[in-house]
């Protein structure tokens, strides 16, 4: 069962990476990174069990924390002018949707 | 306490750096830094004496035996380098308080001293250690502090120069890291002595060849060998004068030390010079460096640039001596490292004095300098003569040995080319002498006074060392000879 979970998580990771690369807006990328982070937390937890040393869950906790902090960091800066949706963003948005 | 000298050499400046942060007044920090650096100088002197008397000193850090723990191993070569670095650092520091008052904003003075000490400690650490990975760690200490120190220069180009240095330096360090990793992969050890014992067993593998190539390229980036030298001129030209004087005399020397240490004591002579066509490569690059850099030096208007290019040329000489790969050749390299440190620190410190009075070191500022600042200019002239290699200066001694080595080996054309290269040095030094003594000062500069004593004392200390070691060569030649012999003796 652990294998199934690992495969599922890896598949979702591929999807998240695709979204992170495709964009089109910055917020899609942030979303993808956040999702990728939570999936990494799960992956590490499951891997710990699969490798027979579940006591290493500490790492997963750190991942969850760091993931949160980096998302907050991005959003905290979002009142800066450089975060405004740019012309390029709008163009690529139209192209994609 | 005497048995702990090897480690004290490094940790005294290393621990002094955070202590500086606790002191408040800038003058106090300067005095403290000077004392610490002087202490390091004394320690290195004692170490050299001890090594010459008893041979290699081994010090095990943390009390763990060698391949498991880290050890320090001081032989003649390290001891000589330690002496050069701590000596130059101490003399240069004497002028620091006066110099940085004009070049660095007051709120950064104590940071300057902290970074200076860290850089000093990093270089000493690279030289003293006998552990390949420890080299990398201390390399990064000295480089990181160097980037910050260079960026403290008041010109905005200092920032850009520092950034370029950071990129090149980090690429170099990462290459060295890859080299060390591959070596470790093949032998399972990081200790230099242990490596030298185990490497012959895997001598014919392609991995070791790659490890060696990466290491060589990484080190050549750090030592600014000819095609990889582009970061150096700007970094030296726009850094604060004190920093330039210190780095020009020491930073490239440390890289050359690494080159010598790894090729001779670790990879071994036979491997190093057969795996890659190192002899041919280094002779060609060295000569190209001498000619290209000396020619560029002639056309510079910023005198710091001029001497920075001359540094690249001098590195060329050292590399040529290295590539001869005989005892005499290596001796010439070591002597030139020692001598070049003396010349360049004197020259750049004198330029610091000019900077102090004029605020820049453009060639225009040198018009009539012979009358305005006679002592400073005289120091520059002596330094320049030494750079050319005129008898009775240190420059002569090392060039002489280099020529001897080349002739011994039968490389006549190289010897001739080196002599021609020295003529180029005559050209750029003469340019300075000409404007300084035969042209009147530029309008507005007539009132400039001689540099303050805090500059003149260290400058003339270095200049007299230039002359002293040019006449009484016993110490330098004895140490260089012992080091060269031991390197050839140790290598399998």
């Amino acid at each position: 069962m652990l294998t199934a979970a690992i495969i599922a998580i890896l598949v979702v990771m591929i999807m998240a990476i695709t979204r992170a690369i495709m964009g089109p807006t910055l917020y899609d990328r942030i979303l993808a990174v956040n999702m990728f982070g939570t999936k990494t937390v799960l992956l590490i937890s499951v891997l710990g069990f699969a490798m027979g040393r579940p006591e290493f869950l500490d790492i997963a906790i750190v991942y969850a924390l760091i993931n949160f902090i980096s998302v907050i960091a991005v959003l905290r800066h979002s009142d800066k002018s450089i975060f405004k949706t740019t012309q390029a963003d709008k163009k690529s948005m139209q192209r994609h949707s | 306490m005497l048995t702990h000298l090897p480690v004290l050499q490094v940790i005294v400046p290393l621990l002094a750096a955070p202590l500086c942060l606790l002191l408040t007044r800038s003058r106090l920090v300067w005095v403290f830094t000077l004392i610490v650096s002087g202490l390091a100088f004394v320690i290195s002197g004692l170490l050299l004496q001890q090594v010459m008397a008893t041979g290699t000193i081994i010090y095990e850090l943390g009390g763990w035996d060698a391949p498991w723990g880290i050890e320090y191993r001081i032989d003649q070569l390290n001891a000589l380098l330690l002496l050069i670095i701590s000596g130059v650092s101490t003399v240069v520091l004497m002028a620091a308080h006066t110099s940085i008052r004009k070049e660095i904003s007051p709120d950064r003075h104590s940071l300057f001293y902290i970074l200076y000490l860290l850089s000093l400690a990093g270089m000493l650490g690279i030289v003293a250690t006998a552990d390949a990975f420890n080299v990398f760690v201390f390399l990064e200490i000295s480089s990181l502090s160097a980037y910050a120190l260079i960026a403290l220069g008041k010109d905005r180009r200092a920032l850009w120069a520092s950034y370029q240095y950071l990129i090149m330096g980090t690429i170099g360090a990462t290459f060295i890291l890859i080299g060390i990793g591959l070596m470790y992969q093949m032998t399972g050890t990081l200790n230099m002595y242990d490596l030298s014992q185990r490497l012959p067993g895997v001598e014919n593998t392609r991995t070791l060849f790659t490890a060696f190539s990466f290491f060589i390229v990484g080190v050549c980036l750090k030592l600014a060998l000819f095609p990889l030298h582009l970061w150096l001129p700007n970094a030296y030209a726009y850094a604060p004068s004190i920093v330039t004087a210190f780095f020009a005399a020491t930073a490239t020397k440390v890289a050359i030390y690494l080159l010598i240490r790894f090729t001779f004591s670790i990879f071994g002579l036979s491997f190093s010079f057969t795996a890659l066509p190192l002899q041919l490569l280094f002779v060609v690059l060295g000569l190209a460096g001498v000619f290209v850099a000396s020619t560029s030096a002639i056309y510079q208007t910023n005198i710091k640039h001029l001497f920075a290019y001359s540094s690249i040329a001098q590195v060329g000489y050292m590399i040529i001596g290295f590539s001869v790969s005989t005892v005499t050749g290596l001796m010439a390299t070591l002597l030139h490292m020692f001598n070049h440190a003396l010349m360049k620190s004197a020259l750049f410190l004198a330029l610091g004095a000019v900077m102090y009075r004029f605020g820049s070191v453009k060639i225009n500022d040198f018009h009539g300098l012979g009358r305005l600042m006679p002592y400073t200019m005289a120091a520059i002239v002596v330094g320049g003569i030494s750079l050319i290699g005129v008898p009775l200066t240190v420059g002569f001694i090392s060039k002489w040995y280099l020529l001897m080595a080349l002739i011994e080996k039968g490389w006549w054309p190289v010897a001739v080319l080196i002599l021609i290269g020295s003529l180029l040095a005559v050209v750029y030094v003469w340019r300075l002498v000409e404007v300084a003594y035969f042209k009147p000062p530029v309008a507005g500069n007539e009132a400039v006074k001689e540099a303050p004593l805090s500059f003149l004392i260290p400058i003339w200390l270095l200049v007299s060392a230039n002359i002293y070691f040019g006449i009484d060569t016993r110490l330098s030649i004895q140490v260089a000879q012992a080091a060269a012999h031991s390197l050839f003796g140790v290598s399998p």
């Binding site: 290493f56 790492i59 991942y63 760091i66 902090i69 | 290393l14 850090l61 200490i141 991995t207």
Partner: protein, 336 residues
């Protein structure tokens, strides 16, 4: 098997980074790169490294990238010249490396030289000589303790370097202004603030756990320091720099950074005074193993102190630069 996939992901991300022109997107992808390589380290059994890489590669370095990008601008100009030379150099280097791997022992083989020479000593003897289960910690803090000392100094150097580059002399800010900023932020980040306020004590507690649990599991001074700093940075981000600066004084934090290095160094110096060599912890106590324990504890504490304070110094100075820029711009507008 998982590791193969992770490596493939890494390549995809790296290629995407090459092609991406939007620097914010690049920093996001770099965060993913960090997380991925950390997951890879877990599959390679390097739990301590994974711990560090997660907090550094995905955490702190993303934060720094963001801080820098918001100061320098978001988009990268397309390069006009064709980087043929660069490609050539890279190809040569790559081919040389591939050539070099050909004689390497196969991946995972137990009889590679590195598993036979020095490492077995650590695995077999560290329990008797040092007495803690985490071999990585014993090697890090004791066998190769001097490397770690160097590492602490490197991070201290970085802190001083950033201070030298970015620090600004600031006047005391008036309290009403801080309060007004505070109020405006309060409305904006209400929910985040509540959640973060609830989380921060636990984060700090967790950092302490990591600090002192490093002997038995993954963790240690460096990781703890980063987590501790992350908590403070989180606070500073949501409650404003000026509030954070009031809570955490700049000179005090610099003092702590120095103290960490000095603590590490003084453990070594005590050994020197007791007649043993530098960093020989067995000099700290009559029983060598107990001495090792005490030494590792103190040393890790020093690492944690320095790392936490330097991370905070670096972040605060980046953010402080922003205030300067803003006030410069405002003055500029005022002049016109």
């Amino acid at each position: 098997m998982t590791s193969v996939f992770l490596l493939a992901f890494l390549v995809v991300i790296a290629v995407a980074i090459v092609r991406m022109r939007d620097l914010l997107a690049v920093s996001m992808l770099l965060g993913i790169y960090g997380l991925l390589s950390a997951s890879f380290f877990v599959t390679m059994d390097a739990v301590d490294v994974a711990f560090t890489e997660a907090s550094v590669g995905a955490g702190i370095s993303t934060l720094l990238m963001l801080a820098a990008i918001t100061l320098t601008g978001r988009s990268e100009h397309p390069t006009r010249h064709k980087p043929v030379l660069a490609l050539f150099v890279v190809l040569i280097t790559g081919c040389l490396l591939i050539y070099g791997t050909l004689d390497m022992p196969y991946f995972g083989s137990a009889d590679a030289p590195i598993h036979l020479h020095v490492a077995p000593h650590y695995i077999n003897n560290s329990m008797q000589e040092i007495g803690i289960p985490n071999i990585v910690t014993s090697v890090l803090a004791s066998y190769r303790g001097f490397d770690t000392f160097g590492e602490v100094v490197v991070i201290f150097t970085a802190g001083m370097g950033v201070l030298a580059l970015l620090s600004v002399v600031r006047r005391a800010e008036n309290i009403t202004k801080i309060d007004s900023i505070n109020d405006s932020m309060h409305a904006e980040y209400l929910i985040l603030r509540i959640v973060v306020k609830a989380l921060i004590p636990f984060i700090l507690l967790y950092a302490l756990y990591v600090q002192f649990h490093g002997d038995f599991g993954p963790g240690g001074g460096f990781q703890a320091g980063v987590i501790f700093a992350a908590a403070i940075i989180l606070y500073a981000m949501l409650f404003g720099m000026s509030t954070a600066r009031r809570v955490i004084n700049q000179s005090v934090i610099q003092f702590f950074a120095a103290i960490g290095v000095l603590l590490y160094g003084s453990v070594g110096v005590v050994a020197l005074i007791n007649g043993k060599s530098f960093l020989d912890y067995s000099a700290l106590s009559a029983d060598p193993v107990a001495g090792q324990h005490l030494g590792i504890l103190l040393v890790e504490l020093g690492v944690g102190l320095t790392v936490a304070s330097v991370m905070v110094i670096i972040f605060f100075n980046f953010e402080g630069r922003r205030d300067v820029l803003q006030s410069q711009e405002n003055n500029h507008k005022g002049d016109n």
